[in-house]
């Protein structure tokens, strides 16, 4: 779970020519790779579990069903946790809040980050410097630390975590969007659009944006992986929005002390989180490979 290297890394080499890519065609091409298929399968499975889970859970998430730390068998298929609650039911209930929060935060960060990055790349003047220095300031805080500070000051509310995560996602997306848009801004069709009097917002979002989708999709899937990790980590640190609710991070935190007696209370959510982040990671890598492949084939033309 490492923050992605910014476009500076690419800047050390030759700036990549970003060919225009339709998002749908990139996704379809990336599905030819096995890693993307496995990733989509894993994410699909876990999303299904999170959506359908609460409806099929045999017990309520905080209903006591037996003695604490009972091993799997009998009434509880995965045993009971440190309070005697059903591990399976809590597992089925515990994904929804993580996925919803991660998705909203990533989407918000993506939208704001793309707007800032494209404006900075298109402006190419003092505005570019001001925007990107502001991004540097936010980047100086590790994601989990900014979320912790926000929770310390405002409290552990869902919106605080969403805002903190979106805020830390913005500069990372903005740097990628700007990096991808900079070479495009120099190309003739942008000058042509300017000469034709196309409004600036149309140039940004109709001419520029489609040409930056490849790197942006890679970064977005990466950011989704980190958002899931940070939200689960906050819950694991005892800072979830609902201290009594089931949440995979909270479950690991609560049951890690009883690992020697009843491992399933922690192991089941560990498997869920690991599969979910592996899935988003594999999808991101699949898209990255596909985008790079397109680059190469065009370079050879």
């Amino acid at each position: 779970m490492i923050p992605a290297a910014g476009p500076d890394v690419a800047a050390a080499g030759v700036p990549l020519e970003t060919p225009p890519v339709r998002a749908t065609s990139l996704l379809r091409r990336s599905l030819r790779l096995w890693r993307t298929r496995i990733g989509v399968g894993l994410v699909g499975l876990l999303v299904l579990l999170a959506i359908v889970g609460p409806f099929v859970a045999p017990y309520g998430q905080s209903a006591p069903v037996g003695a604490p730390n009972a091993l799997p068998g009998g009434k509880a298929a995965l045993g009971t946790d440190y309070l005697g609650q059903d591990v399976l039911s809590r597992l089925l209930d515990g994904g929804r809040s993580i996925l919803i929060t991660a998705f909203i935060a990533t989407a918000a960060g993506l939208i704001v980050g793309v707007v800032i990055g494209l404006i900075a790349a298109y402006a190419r003047n003092a505005l570019d410097d001001v925007l990107m220095r502001a991004m540097d300031v936010i980047m100086a805080f590790p994601q989990i630390m900014l979320a912790l500070v926000a929770v310390a000051v405002v409290g552990a509310h869902a919106w605080v975590i969403v805002v903190a995560l979106a805020l830390t996602t913005v500069p990372r997306i903005a740097r990628v969007a700007r990096g991808a848009a900079l070479p495009v801004v120099e190309r003739d069709f942008i000058a042509c659009a300017e000469a034709m009097g196309v409004p600036r917002w149309r140039i940004l979002f109709v001419e520029l944006l489609p040409n930056t989708l490849g790197p942006l999709m890679v970064e977005a899937s990466l950011r989704m992986t980190y958002s899931i990790a940070v939200i689960a980590a906050l819950a694991f640190l005892g800072l979830s929005t609902d201290p009594n609710g089931a949440n995979w991070g909270t479950m690991i935190y609560e049951n890690q002390t009883v690992l020697p007696i009843q491992p399933w209370g922690a192991v089941a959510p560990i498997i869920a989180i690991a599969l979910l982040t592996m899935g988003t990671g594999l999808i991101g890598d699949g898209i990255a490979r596909t985008a790079a492949g397109i680059d190469r084939s065009r370079g050879g033309e």
Binding site: D8, R133, A140, P142, A152, G238, G249, Q256, L259, A274
Partner: protein
């Protein structure tokens, strides 16, 4: 703006980068201060909670200088920060510096040991995979690293506890208890699991970048030239390929070290390791704002400094970038 000033050569670049770093740090200090102290609402009430008496609220406001204008508060805080006076911890009733110094030592040892182990390891794995491209080692390591890179650090940590300290085997202690007044170097077994976690979290990312960067270099003309000259493969790799492949890697290493500064929050918490990470978690739970402020500034400053060093190092090792200045 500063970035636009073309002021020749490497020294000019370094000075420009340092000035930019300072500006970012000043902005960071304003953000930290604004977020924790000058926020609309009453920090004293946020810290003491709803049940606080008017007397205790008034006393805390006086202690935090909340009765003074915001700018004076900021100035007092900033000059204190520069003189090493970080205020008094509200939870421990101790100066923040006294409280954090031993924890900072513990965390530095943890991060340093992890970095010393993970960086050479990941450079070796990445280079070897690049050299044996598409062979068994490359395929296996690439897929394994891809999967490992996606797993959150606390999941890695708890799995290691499960495998090595509790359910499966009891080789290592599950809790890294380092008594106050003693250094972590006296308890090597307590360091193993936290370090192993950080290495597993960081190494895949660096190794993947090294591999990508190395493949690009190995395909270049000057490597072909060196090979055609009949140089031994070892010389080609170590003298010609590696230095050029390491340019982008410095950036990633710096990002990873900065990441470690944030990642230790979770890892230290899992192992109850007495460092700044677990201190931050405790300070957040206790609403101990002076400690939160100090740690936020510390970690942000570390990040800015590491980025600066990475940029300078990249310029130093990459001749084609140096000539562009």
């Amino acid at each position: 703006m500063l970035a636009r000033i073309r002021w020749g050569g490497v020294p000019g670049f370094v000075i420009r980068r340092v000035l930019l770093g300072l500006i970012v740090l000043i902005m960071v200090s304003i953000v930290v201060f604004a977020a924790t102290q000058a926020l609309p609402g009453d920090p004293a009430r946020a810290i003491l909670g709803r049940s606080a008496t008017p007397q205790s609220l008034a006393a805390l406001r006086l202690k935090l200088h909340l009765n003074q204008p915001v700018f004076t508060q900021y100035w007092t805080w900033l000059t204190g920060l520069l003189r090493g006076n970080l205020g008094t911890s509200l939870a421990a009733q101790e100066p923040v510096t006294t409280l954090l110094r031993p924890k900072l030592v513990n965390s530095s040892v943890l991060v340093a040991v992890s970095a010393i182990l993970s960086i050479p390891l990941s450079i070796a794995i990445g280079s070897w995979a690049a050299l044996k491209r598409e062979k068994i080692f490359d395929t296996l390591s690439s897929n394994l690293l891809l999967v490992l890179a996606a797993i959150p650090e606390f999941v890695v940590a708890v799995v290691l506890v499960l495998l090595l300290a509790t359910t499966v085997s009891h080789v290592l202690p599950a809790i890294s208890n380092i008594p106050p007044g003693s250094g972590p170097w006296n308890y090597p077994s307590a360091l193993v699991l936290p370090v192993l976690t950080l290495v597993i979290v960081v190494a895949p990312y660096v190794a993947r970048i090294v591999r990508a960067s190395m493949i690009e270099v190995l395909e270049s003309d000057y490597i072909e030239m060196a090979r055609l000259k009949g140089l031994p493969e070892r010389t080609v790799m170590i003298r010609h390929a590696l230095p050029n492949a390491l340019g982008p890697v410095f950036q990633v290493i710096a990002l990873n070290l900065a990441y470690l500064a944030g990642g230790i929050v979770v890892v230290e918490f899992v192992f109850a390791y007495a460092g700044i990470g677990s201190a931050l978690r405790d300070a957040v739970l206790n609403h101990d704002l002076p400690v939160v402020q100090a740690l936020a500034m510390l970690i942000a400053a570390l990040y800015v400094a590491l980025n600066l060093l990475a940029d300078v190092a990249t310029i130093m090792v990459t001749p084609r970038l140096r000539t562009r200045l």
